[in-house]
Symmetry: C2
Subunit: 154 residues, 2 copies
DNA sequence: TAAAATTGACAGAGTATCTGACTATATGCA
DNA sequence: TGCATATAGTCAGATACTCTGTCAATTTTA
């Protein structure tokens, strides 16, 4: 390392990078663990389904809108999960065009596996840095997202 | 809010979700803006190249390792960027097997476009919430990533 | 009830990733 | 020195996830 005073300070890591790095780590680890736990075919893309599927069933169109992808893409993800037995499709009694997506027992199990990992990680984090630290990080991330929603309007 | 004590508190948003949401917003917006700025073919995947390419040139193998993808995948990304004129390949004078990837003028321009957006966003954030707030968020995210690196060991 | 909108599917395509096998070159050791 | 092994990058093929365009069935609206 040079000992003379630097003219240009090292550029700060970008905010996006600071978010991406821990996000990727968590995602990779959790889905590897889920695979080891008996669900090797569930990928992060599928959580676009699980995240939003309602206990009383959800329409593909609604799931697509919530996940921010096309109906066709959501249809594909739902189809894969249905073949694997993670969700079930039933006709919507209220609308002859629509189908309702329900999580099966196996689907719920997989979701719980991920939730459990998330809770465990957070506990470890609270133990290491304290509740205030974690609560503040959470609060700041929520605030950041709200700020972006307002600021990055189209 | 109900005043009676809740038996089941609303489950907290997962940490991964708190990271993912702002990350996705930033990423989508920045690359849309980059497209409007004359670089419609640059996608987030390509930043795996730009992020790590050294001023003196980088090997595909090294770029792959740094990005955490296979040599073949990195080769593909580099090939796309080379065809579009964002990077240039030259033989490595020190190793007859290797090629060195360099960013072209156009590549540097694209990278700067993204950096500029990142700086602008951060400035807005500092104006809205103050330097301390942003610095603390940054520090916590760095700490989180370091914690994950240690904790999520294989 | 006729027109317009919505739901989901089908067909076709593109991007980004992977694994396996290969060539050419470099490195290390006997 | 020369052979064995490791490394750099490519080729071929496959898979996952996403898109656009189109369509039939159905529901909603005017």
């Amino acid at each position: 390392m040079p000992t003379h005073k630097k003219k240009y300070p090292a550029p700060a890591i970008r905010l996006g990078t600071l978010l991406r790095r821990p996000y990727r780590r968590i995602r990779e680890r959790f889905y590897e663990e889920l695979a080891r736990g008996g669900h090797p075919h569930i990928t992060p893309a599928h959580s676009a389904v699980f995240r939003n599927v309602a206990p009383g069933g959800s329409r593909i169109s609604d799931l697509a809108a919530e996940a921010g992808i096309t109906k066709q893409s959501m249809g594909y993800l739902v189809d894969v999960l249905a073949r694997r037995g993670y969700v079930e499709l039933r006709p919507d009694p209220a609308d002859g065009r629509a189908k309702l997506v329900f999580a099966t027992k196996q689907g719920v199990t997989a979701v719980r596996h991920l939730s459990r990992q998330s809770r465990a990680l957070e506990q470890r984090l609270r133990k290491a840095y304290g509740d205030a630290w974690v609560n503040d990080l959470r609060a700041k991330l929520e605030r950041l997202d709200a700020f972006l929603e307002d600021t990055l309007r189209h």
